[in-house]
């Protein structure tokens, strides 16, 4: 930029001829300092997010370190500890966590897609928003209430279903050997499925609503029925959105504590008997149940398992975001 010979304060005050209101107008402070302070504050808040996440990882690692570096003999001193190392201890928990979450996902995804389609393409326009709000209500219910509902009501309702399944399809190991009450991983997964239903529905619904009208109309104009239109235009367009919605749901199911804690009767096995109690436990529920009575090395072991959960959910969420980001690139939506 060329340097010119202007006085330091570039533009002069307004001419004094407008003296009537000029006094107010000439208050020339433009608040450059305040601007800097404000910009600094908001940038600082952004950086705080960065620092916080680093702190989460760091503090968990520091508190988990005693357990990670302890010898098997030291770990034996923790009364409830099983296995020779933290990795061996956490393995069945990881298995239980993944199994419960995947089961919940298998139950929730088809229903969620159905609800999302119902709201976006089947329900009357005027009702659609209200119905969507109804489903969102499911997300507003606290997890401990889901726990109460699961443990004190749902288990009783599932009992005849499980009895019937086990007696007619008992030759399939998955559903063999049902024992009442239904404090098994299947019941926990049903509760988890209900809990992740709203998030999967909400994201899928948004994607379905974004289907280009032209595609839909093109399909209908060719004489397609509504279902054929959905299959030709809506579902292909929304596929990646549904996948990422499911991943978000999976992320939530992995970390959910109370529903599993209150419903399941825990066990530490690599078992595929879904209807048997005392076979499985998840990381989160295990922490919640052991933590209040633990101290010293026991706390470290639990925090180490929490670190494992953090890593698992991190990876799942990362994958979900990656799919969303890739989709945003080529769809041109948003």
């Amino acid at each position: 930029m060329p340097v010119t010979t202007t006085p330091p304060r570039g533009v002069p005050d307004p001419a004094p001829s407008r003296a009537d209101a000029g006094a107010a107008v000439r208050a020339a402070s433009t608040g450059r300092v305040a601007s800097r302070v404000f910009a600094g504050l908001s940038t600082g808040a952004g950086l705080l997010i960065l620092v916080t996440l680093a702190a989460v990882a760091a503090f968990l690692l520091i508190r988990a370190w005693p357990a990670l570096s302890a010898s098997p003999e030291e770990l034996e001193t923790v009364s409830w500890f099983t296995g020779g190392s933290v990795a061996e201890y956490v393995a069945p928990l990881v298995f239980g966590t993944l199994l419960a979450s995947v089961l919940a996902l298998l139950l929730a995804v088809p229903v969620s897609i159905g609800i999302a389609l119902f709201i976006s393409h089947y329900a009357p326009r005027r009702l659609a928003q209200g119905l969507g709000y109804l489903i969102d209500l499911l997300a507003a219910i606290p997890s401990v209430v889901y726990g109460l509902w699961g443990a004190l009501w749902l288990i009783g309702q599932l009992d005849p279903v499980f009895t019937w399944l086990s007696s007619t399809l008992g030759f399939v190991p998955l559903v063999a050997d049902y024992q009442a009450p239904a404090k098994n991983i299947m019941s926990a997964s049903v509760v988890l499925a209900v809990m992740i239903l709203p998030i999967i529905t909400a994201v899928s619904r948004e994607v379905f609503l974004q289907t280009p009208r032209l595609h839909e109309e093109a399909s209908l104009a060719l004489g397609a029925t509504r279902w054929e239109m959905v299959r030709q235009a809506v579902l292909p367009f929304g596929r990646s959105g549904v996948i990422s919605a499911s991943m978000l749901g999976l992320g939530r199911a992995l970390g959910e504590t109370m529903a599993v804690l209150m419903v399941i009767s825990p066990g530490f096995l690599f078992s595929f008997f879904l209807l048997r109690p005392g076979q499985h436990q998840t990381i989160a529920a295990n922490i919640a149940s052991k933590f209040p009575e633990s101290s010293g090395l026991g706390v470290s072991v639990l925090i180490a398992t929490g670190l494992a959960l953090f890593v698992i959910t991190f990876v799942v969420n990362l994958a979900a975001r990656w799919i969303i980001a890739r989709r945003a690139e080529y769809s041109g939506a948003n």
Partner: protein, 259 residues
């Protein structure tokens, strides 16, 4: 209190992209200067550099000189905020603040800058500015209603009242009538004719009849092709421009052969 602006060899960049190249022009005080040209020729971009509004867009920058009564608008320690208080702007679409009443919209320049002003001075400023924008008689009984309750043309005049309430030296207008109906357009054009006795006015317009009606001087911008920078082709008194332009491109554009 209206001032002249002298621009010398001004280039405008968006990042590395040269959008407008080598503009040199003199904008006379107490006159309306019209900037015309086909879409994308850089006339709006150029207009925005006059009060440094282009800096809102990340990566936008200028080289060259722009002087208001001899003082560099781009001087090292000139705050763009000060520049904008001297050089007001009216936009393509009327944009009154939706959360404010008509009166508060007029006072926005004062209120938003946290300046105190006695009640009666406020009332005077409101009336004076709304009269200046030919809007007083239409709204004096409903000053407390939201600004968005007015019609499009009234909203645009409200925005003009809001701009002149800050007592600028220069008023920039970026296609102020393009979103309005013919009757509202006429009202704004009449207003411009009155305003130019107090302010330096620079108006960007797509409508050549409008340029001919309201302006004293006209500048024609053109662009050689997509991706090329816009340039100032010629500038002269409006009457001369529309009767006997020097450049063939100007004549082609004015006679409607392209653009």
């Amino acid at each position: 209190m209206s001032k002249r602006i002298d621009v010398a060899d001004l280039d405008v960049y968006y990042g590395d992209f040269l959008a407008v190249e080598g503009v040199t022009m003199a904008i006379e005080p107490r006159q309306a200067t019209a900037l015309i040209g086909p879409s994308g020729c850089g006339k709006s971009t150029f207009l925005r550099t006059l009060n440094r509004m282009h800096e809102v867009i990340p990566g936008a920058r200028v080289t060259g000189k722009a002087l208001m009564d001899g003082q560099d608008l781009y001087g090292a320690d000139v705050d763009p905020v000060t520049v904008r208080r001297q050089i007001g702007m009216v936009f393509q679409r009327p944009n009154p603040f939706p959360t404010m009443s008509i009166a508060d919209n007029v006072l926005a320049g004062v209120r938003l800058n946290n300046r105190r002003m006695p009640k009666d001075a406020q009332q005077d400023l409101i009336e004076q500015s709304l009269r200046g924008a030919n809007l007083w008689n239409e709204v004096k009984d409903r000053l407390a209603l939201p600004g968005s309750s007015l019609s499009g043309g009234q909203q645009q005049r409200l925005c003009i009242a809001r701009a002149i309430a800050v007592k600028p030296q220069v008023l920039l207008m970026d296609e102020p009538c393009s979103a309005l109906d013919p009757i509202s357009t006429l009202a704004i054009e009449d207003l411009i004719a009155e305003l130019k006795s107090d302010y330096t006015i620079v108006i960007v317009t797509h409508n050549m009849q409008q340029a001919a009606r309201v302006s004293d001087r006209t500048a024609f911008f053109n662009i050689a092709g997509t991706g090329k920078p816009g340039r100032l082709i010629e500038m002269d008194d409006t009457a001369t421009m529309f009767s006997s332009p020097r450049e063939q491109a100007t004549e082609d554009y004015i006679s409607g052969r392209f653009g």
